[in-house]
């Protein structure tokens, strides 16, 4: 039996942002629009106490790949567009998705519309691609800042041969390397990499080594060993979702 999980060691994390940006380069996610962040990885920040006894903490967030996933329950499509794989990833099939956003509404870690950001504790692990709108708006604009002298979004995409021009091409039977409009999207633990024996890209890119990924059912795995050693915490335990993203260590001293 496999249950993939990610441990985030907050002791090692310095909140630098590399994971979330690396994710955007790996998964070619769009810029924020219509209150949808398209940040499959993101952060929340908390400031506590009064000056000079001020505490500050960053918590990286992503889809929790819950064992008891409300998004899967909520998906009205048959067979479900949002579903659990046999190795415990909360997967999504782009083709079957009808864009009803019931998953987004059901997910305790998602918001219908993110008006602010992690500075105020706001984020959404599920984003929706507005029907009929270009996914990569930056590269769908043909305006030249200085006519004839500077390039434009469409020009650069055409010259590079991809939208976005830095598109990382990959293939997966359930999801595309860029998603069409009118559907939802989120983190899939980089299953297109994991199935090839690689780590999720945020794990591979973390300069602090704060993210550890593996099968918690395998007692020999690093994640299983860490869980034995540390008492992990999860986000919103009261929601009963049984997240498979687990936090260990204290951010500060």
């Amino acid at each position: 039996m496999t249950q993939y999980a990610m441990i985030i060691d907050l002791r090692k994390c310095v909140g630098c942002g590399a994971c979330a940006l690396a994710c955007k380069t790996e998964n070619n996610t769009a810029l924020r629009s219509n209150g949808q962040t398209h940040n499959w990885a993101d952060f929340i920040h908390e400031t506590t106490g009064k000056f000079p006894k001020t505490g500050y903490k960053t918590t990286p967030v992503l889809c929790n790949h819950c064992s008891n996933a409300p998004c899967v329950d909520a998906c009205p499509v048959e067979p479900k567009a949002m579903f659990k794989t046999k190795d415990g990833i909360t997967m999504h099939n782009d083709e079957r998705c009808i864009g009803c956003r019931a998953c987004q509404e059901a997910c305790p870690y998602s918001m219908d519309e993110v008006k602010r950001d992690g500075a105020y504790g706001e984020y959404s692990v599920i984003s929706y691609n507005e029907e009929g709108e270009p996914y990569q708006a930056l590269f769908s604009d043909s305006k030249e800042l200085i006519p004839g002298c500077t390039t434009s979004g469409t020009h650069i995409a055409r010259a590079a041969g991809a939208t976005p021009p830095h598109l990382t091409r990959y293939g997966h039977p359930e999801y595309d390397d860029t998603r069409r409009s009118g559907i939802v999207e989120k983190c899939y633990f980089c299953d297109h990499r994991v199935k090839k024996g690689d780590q999720p890209y945020c794990v591979e890119s973390c300069p602090a080594g704060a993210r550890i990924f593996g099968n918690i059912r395998d007692s020999g795995s690093t994640v299983a060993k860490l869980l034995k050693k540390h008492k992990p915490s999860v986000l919103k335990p009261e929601a009963g979702t049984q997240p498979n993203v687990l936090y260990i260590g204290e951010y500060g001293t």
């Binding site: 590399a18 930056l138 299953d191 602090a208």
Partner: protein, 848 residues
């Protein structure tokens, strides 16, 4: 409407009509292609280059698919970043694929220059651009005034020698102005006039037991970013981490002690720590030495007889105590710097206990003040007191990188009489004049004073500049006192900018050339260090340059040299070809591309030509050098400078700086004045012997604090690729990774106590005003900022550069505001450094 549609969808699903009702592609087309096994990542290749987003200068690799740059990681050979990059590395993909990049040469058609004046740029051919530039250069030579040509260098690689050194010198101008003093010359001043090294230090984080971070945030900026990110989690477990900063930075948030100091008063805190270390007998005797009879005579307020103490690796600890330390008790320091005395005592005792494995990491916040030179010395002196200087677990100098030097002898052969004479004329930054000592490396006028160039231009002193070429720079944005720079650039008759974007500097240009994006599109090499390893890393075009971009440092000089030759001045062309033949074949370059390759080969040859064992990585041949992209030294040997090998006058670590004394006396003698006069002209308060030791100076404020009650704190965002990442939408999306900041806004952090007094609420628009200027941004109420100070990261406030960076590019409207407008023009005259920290900017804040 969105909600309605969703309800409709749910209903549709229930009725089983979704697919047809919505008229979506029926998905069958996708289904056929996508069923079955995981295809995974499409083929591609990791290609080495170097990231120049900050001054860490990381060796990196770029993943290239179908000729496109798609991902970034650290170079897998790097012992400095261990194969990882910080967020900047990823962010840079939005620079190469920036929709607002300049794709071809352009010229100004509106002769009127000024901020907010549309230059009416139109595209032109390369020939027209280069011919125009060459004609202007010939005019200067024909008029016998080649010194009126000036090169302004921003970020650079070490191929800079061509555009920065060789080109102006053979042409006949002394004016090659680097940006170095905008970065941190006063920081180097602190290290040089104590341990004799005009450079940034490396740090041995793996072995440290006490990390004292002063005026910087090593996991965010300041030259060892990925290496510090990797280690901080371990360091907080193995060591005590104390951070001096008026705002809570990332390291402070994770560390044990936060010392929110009053800006500019750093020396008071440092001297108080020294006071405790000495009076409590906690200094490291293996470095500093001891009283001959072992009896501690350091008592508050009491002078000590020099003859009673025998120093080991240091010079003048007793003189220093008597002149500047004995009276700086923690209680006195608290009154000056607002850090509690008991905290200063606790930090000092912790350092003493951990000595000598103490890392004193001094950054620009401690140093870049109007009177910052002595703050830098005071902080760095602590590294000496605890024996953490050049020692295991402390601050380190660096291993050598055995690359070739510029062939100066050949260069000189191609200087004609005009060039020889005029390239020795005084420089436009007035370095070395009485009021601008700029004492880099112990010499009067030894270093640049970039911010003073604006004055040189405006006052035509020592003469008028008629032509400026700038590359990878944006001086009118990145120097404090932007208004002065705007006026200065308006004065320049002919300005050329080699740039990726139409930046603020570009808006004053007559000819604009599209520059290659560093890291993705150009050749070059850099020297850097971290984690005990010195590194030489290549920049390479990992993809074909987008557009008509050129290598600023080599292709531009070569192509201009060709044009000058056509006009009868062949020295530059002949000189460049003679200086840099292919080291393998001896062949001289015939094209700009060949020239670039040969220069790169020339400089790096000792690392790969196998002629001499240079230590470190073994690289066999040019091809392997290109494939690896980098070279690591052997680890730096601890205590290399101990035993009388410090490059100071006394050969020791100097608490009483014989080196600074010599430099100041030299400058004073040059101008026939006393050292006291030099100090007065340099806006320092010390007189007599005090000028030769690290001491406290009352911080200089530009403005009356009754009118401007807050000190302004400027710092670097962890997403700043200097001033170049603010046209990247990801910058704004993730700006909240800077503690206290909010994404998509320019956040001025203000303590809630202060905000309440001013009736300001979180998210309010506020106007901030100083003697330098005024701007509007968003108030962020935050407990992580010291009351009485406000902080905002440098970066936003562009009024040009691109559609994302500016609020309104066409009309020159800024997005947020530029800290350098609020921070009035000023400098630290002794080091030549820009003065932007230390609360020289005082401000008032009003709700808009």
């Amino acid at each position: 409407m969105k909600i309605k549609r969703r309800d409709f969808l749910k209903l549709s699903v229930a009725t089983g009509a979704a697919a047809t009702v919505l008229g979506k592609p029926t998905l069958n087309a996708f289904a056929a292609a996508k069923s079955g096994a995981v295809a995974g990542e499409a083929a591609g290749q990791w290609k080495p280059s170097t990231c120049q987003g900050c001054t860490t200068w990381c060796p990196v690799e770029v993943f290239v698919q179908d000729g496109r740059a798609v991902k970034v990681r650290g170079n897998q050979h790097s012992k400095q970043n261990d194969g990882f990059v910080c967020p900047r590395g990823h962010l840079s993909l939005q620079q190469i694929y920036d929709p607002d990049r300049i794709k071809r040469p352009m010229k100004r058609t509106n002769p009127k220059k000024g901020r907010g004046v549309d230059p009416h740029f139109v595209p032109i051919s390369w020939d027209e651009a280069l011919n125009t530039i060459a004609d202007k250069m010939m005019d200067l030579r024909n008029a016998g005034e080649p010194e009126k040509y000036c090169l302004m260098r921003g970020r650079y690689t070490y191929l800079r020698d061509v555009i920065y050194d060789a080109m102006p010198k053979i042409f006949g101008s002394p004016n090659n102005i680097s940006h170095s003093s905008m970065c941190a010359e006063s920081e180097k001043f602190g290290a040089y006039y104590t341990e004799g090294k005009w450079a940034y230090r490396d740090y041995d984080l793996d072995k440290t037991k006490y990390l004292l971070v002063w005026g910087c945030d090593p996991v965010s900026s300041n030259r060892l970013v990925p290496s510090a990110i990797k280690r901080l989690g371990n360091v907080i477990d193995q060591a005590t981490v104390a951070v001096v900063d008026p705002k809570l930075n990332n390291t402070a948030a994770k560390g044990h002690e936060w010392l929110p100091i009053k800006p500019g008063t750093d020396a008071a805190a440092a001297l108080a720590i020294a006071h405790v270390l000495l009076s409590e007998g906690l200094w490291f005797k293996g470095f500093v030495g001891d009283f001959t009879d072992g009896k501690n005579r350091f008592k508050a307020g009491q002078k000590v007889d020099e003859s009673t103490f025998a120093e080991k690796e240091t010079n003048g600890v007793i003189k220093w105590w008597n002149l500047a330390v004995k009276d700086m008790t923690p209680a006195k320091a608290e009154a000056l710097c607002d850090v509690p005395a008991d905290q200063l005592i606790r930090v000092a005792r912790g350092m003493g206990k951990a000595a000598p494995a103490v890392c004193v990491m001094m950054g620009p916040g401690a140093a870049m003040h109007v009177r910052g030179g002595y703050n830098a010395m005071s902080v760095h002196a602590l590294a000496g007191l605890v024996g953490g200087c050049d020692n295991e677990g402390g601050s380190l100098q660096t291993a050598k990188i055995p690359v070739n030097k510029m062939p100066k002898d050949i260069l000189e052969k191609y200087q004609d009489d005009l060039a020889k004479k005029h390239s020795k004329m005084p420089k436009i930054d007035q370095r070395g004049t009485l009021a601008i000592p700029a004492l880099a490396k112990g010499k009067s006028g030894g270093g640049v004073c970039a911010n003073n160039v604006a004055n040189g231009i405006l006052n035509k002193d020592p003469y008028e500049l008629k032509m400026v070429v700038g590359y990878m720079n944006n001086f009118v944005f990145s120097n404090n006192g932007t208004e002065r720079w705007e006026k200065a650039l308006e004065q320049i008759d002919f300005l050329v900018h080699i740039t990726t974007n139409a930046a603020e500097f570009t808006m004053f240009a007559d000819i604009v050339l599209p520059g290659a994006i560093s890291k993705y599109e150009k050749y070059g090499f850099i020297k850097t260090k971290a984690n005990r390893y010195a590194t030489c890393s290549l920049l390479q075009p990992v993809v074909e340059p987008m557009w008509e971009s050129i290598n600023d440092e080599t292709e531009f000089p070569f192509r201009i040299a060709e044009k000058l030759k056509e006009r009868g001045f062949a020295n530059l062309y002949d000189g460049l070809r003679a200086m840099y033949p292919d080291p393998e074949t001896g062949k001289k370059a015939n094209t700009a591309k060949e020239f670039t390759e040969y220069t790169l080969k020339y400089y790096t040859a000792p690392l790969w030509d196998g002629k001499k064992d240079v230590g470190g990585d073994k690289i066999s041949g040019w091809q392997e050098m290109l494939e690896r992209g980098m070279w690591n030294s052997k680890p730096y040997k601890y205590r290399s400078q101990w035993g009388g090998k410090f490059k100071t006058v006394s050969k020791k670590f100097e608490f009483y700086s014989e080196t600074l004394k010599k430099a100041l006396k030299g400058h004073a003698k040059k101008h026939n004045v006393s050292v006291d006069t030099v100090m007065a002209k340099s806006n320092y308060t010390a007189r007599g012997e005090l000028a030769f030791v690290p001491h406290y100076e009352e911080p200089f404020r530009n403005g009356d604090m009754k009118k401007y009650p807050f000190t302004f704190v400027d710092y670097k965002s962890r997403l700043n690729r200097e001033g170049r990442s603010q046209n990247a939408p990801w910058y704004y999306e993730f700006k909240h990774v800077d503690p206290g900041d909010v994404g998509n806004q320019d956040s001025l952090k203000i303590n809630p106590v202060d905000a309440k007094k001013l009736g300001i609420r979180d998210g309010d628009q506020v106007r901030i005003t100083s003697m330098g200027g005024s701007g509007v941004c968003t108030a962020r109420l935050w407990e992580g900022i010291k009351p009485g100070t406000v902080a905002k990261s440098f970066g936003q406030g562009h009024w040009a550069t691109g559609d994302t960076a500016a609020a309104d590019f066409k009309n020159g409207v800024e997005r947020g505001f530029n800290n350098n407008t609020i921070i009035p023009w000023d400098i630290d005259r002794l080091s030549g450094s820009n003065a932007r920290n230390g609360g020289q900017a005082v401000v008032n804040i009003k709700k808009v």
